[in-house]
Symmetry: C2
Subunit: 392 residues, 2 copies
């Protein structure tokens, strides 16, 4: 059986995702579609709009065969760590292909980028260093260094100022690094959605756009952008956001104080003082963010820190988690189940269908992040222990 892996957040699942799922399947002639999906906290440092089991249901209803959780330590990490965790999981599941959306749309430029980065490593790193010394922000320093190495080759490179290209680049880098047999395939995305003339414009919106519309108006307004089942599931569930979690975040910043905050993952360079001052001052998440935001830190980077503060994800815990140590099954179709039976003996990480008593720091973190996610929507903790995989 040919298995194709995709890396997703489904926040929430929409028509663009459905298109990607179907196209990935068609292009790779896959028998099984495997989605590695972020749990309750996402790469941009936000809580998912609905819980992970609901999002797994959305995926299964639209053609995914297996939904495996990308653990917290990777789902909320910067691109290289996020991508590596996802690739390691797909590799452990014995996938043939990884298929990702990119602004680029072709694989060759990514390969050229990887090669050039490799051969011009010294130039790349030197350029980053000197930019940083000039006070340029890290993302800009990366961009400048990349432009410098691009001038050393005539081959087309992937444009790494585009968000999906960045992730794609890191997937491919991870494949190379772990010497995975995964074959990378990419689909062109334009801006917020996939490029397909057959898809009518008014049925396509980005997940960001959908969340924005939903919070500003009403869930009914986003119906046309989502498959029917996904929409029904979205409508049934409470919608989580930073606004609901802010009272807890604010309380915990006040409680910890700058000294304790400094032990949290990603908190560096004295930003703990800015967080503490802003928590004292600001009653809403938006106001808080605007107070903390500066040239030095992107919005995403701050939000990611805040997720770690909210969860209590410490530097000492992060140091314990280097690679995924399990395959947490969130849901499967009958087809997915037979695939698992087939590859059972070849899988290189243990499959977890039910969380019992354990001491794995990554799994503890996942269940803790679930419990805290539920605090914001008045649901009970312990769901990670009580919820069996969704079966379609």
């Amino acid at each position: 059986m040919i298995a194709t892996g995709i890396v997703v957040e489904y926040n929430p699942f929409h028509n663009g995702h459905l298109f990607h799922l179907n196209e990935a399947k068609r292009l790779t002639d896959a028998d099984v579609m495997i989605a590695v999906m972020s749990g309750h906290f996402l790469q941009r440092g936000e809580p998912a709009i609905v819980d992970k089991w609901t999002r797994a249901r959305m995926a299964l209803a639209s053609g995914a065969d297996l939904v495996i959780e990308l653990p917290y330590a990777f789902s909320t990490a910067h691109a290289p760590q996020f991508a590596k965790g996802a690739v390691q999981i797909l590799d452990a599941l014995r996938c043939e292909y990884i298929c990702f959306g990119s602004e680029e749309g072709r694989i060759a430029p990514f390969l050229n980028s990887l090669d050039t980065m490799n051969t011009q490593k010294e130039l790349y790193e030197k350029t980053i260093k000197s930019s940083i010394q000039e006070g340029i922000s890290y993302p800009n320093a990366l961009r400048i260094a990349y432009e410098a190495i691009a001038r050393t080759t005539e081959e087309p490179l992937a444009d790494l100022s585009e968000p999906n290209n960045i992730l794609g680049f890191h997937y491919m880098q991870a494949v190379k690094e772990i010497q995975s047999r995964l074959i990378a395939v990419t689909l062109e995305r334009k801006g917020t959605h996939y490029h397909d003339a057959a898809l009518p414009e008014d049925t396509i919106a980005s997940a960001t756009g959908i969340r924005k519309e939903l919070f500003a108006t009403d869930v009914a307004h986003v119906q046309s952008f989502m498959p029917t089942t996904a929409f029904k599931l979205l409508r049934q569930q409470p919608h989580q956001s930073w606004n609901h979690l802010y009272p807890f975040l604010r309380y915990t910043i006040l409680r910890e104080g700058p000294e304790q905050l400094a032990s949290i993952a990603d908190i560096t360079e004295g930003i703990e003082f800015a967080l503490w001052r802003a928590a004292k001052e600001h009653a809403t998440f938006q106001e808080f963010m605007h107070a903390v935001k500066s040239k030095r830190y992107t919005w995403t980077r701050i939000q990611r820190m805040l997720v770690h503060v909210l969860i209590g994800y410490r530097k000492s815990t992060r140091a314990q988690i280097t690679s995924p140590s399990y395959l947490r099954l969130l849901g499967m179709s009958a087809n997915g189940r037979s695939y698992l039976r087939t590859v059972k003996k070849e899988m290189t990480l243990p499959l977890i269908t039910r969380v019992g008593s354990h001491k794995d720091p990554s799994l503890l973190l996942d269940s803790k992040s679930t419990d805290i996610y539920m605090c914001g929507i008045h649901k009970e903790p312990g769901l990670d222990f009580k919820t069996p995989p969704i079966l379609l």
Copy 2:
């Protein structure tokens, strides 16, 4: 000017407190009445029903001249530490007298108790040790040891199974220990209130009874037990309780996990695991408490731990705070103000009328406890910095 000190929580201020205030003044012929009052968290491990400035107003309106805050590190401590902190503050303020309510009602038995405890120290400590080894709880071990030394004397001793006698004993012990010139005076209390035939029964209820009635029915039901101004102030303010703070407590227990909880003051002997399990299970504070409660721990002892968990009061911080380091003025009358002017040069601790930028760990803790107290009633943090003393 003769100054008489009293140690109070005023949670809320009621007719019994008014009686005590007047009697203490009359008995000691005081020119100035000084109340050392707990801030936002109290000795039984509970948040005060209304904020400390409102309670200071109640006290000033009923005849107190100065209200000085008993810092968090003492207001939430067990009796010896609570009493010592309060006595040190009254001593620093150059009071002549400390007047406390007691079930005993006379000073002599307290003096006898202190003497006997001193001369029979060895017997006392040996008896405690052997009881604890037999698995007897600490409060019971204390009681048994006290009975043992009581048998060595013919003089009447204070009955230290009574709550107000215990505090009185510790006030007097602290006076002796710090070699204060304070003279102890006591007033008889019977059960929940002061013994006075002139006080009609239906105007007297304990603070506990008042809070219970108020939460079960309506604030209007407690009017007859309180002075008019105190009642008006109580009615105007939001009423804080563990129920409002429980979502934050629960969140923080889930976030910290047993490992981090173990660093919190008073958390010993593995109770962090019981707290963690109960937080996962129970959606209300009452259910939570019943789950954690055991023979080994009194309700009060657990609540005190929980306050420390809520505030993030760590063992390492407690180790830094041994004695009060300031006199935090919450409110004063004109009379109180002239007293301060008179004794200014004799006071042995700095008077704080306005909290600015500082690094005193006890004062940081006080302002943090204020901020967290306000989280539960949707008030803004930072009040400790913004609120000037109440002037009557």
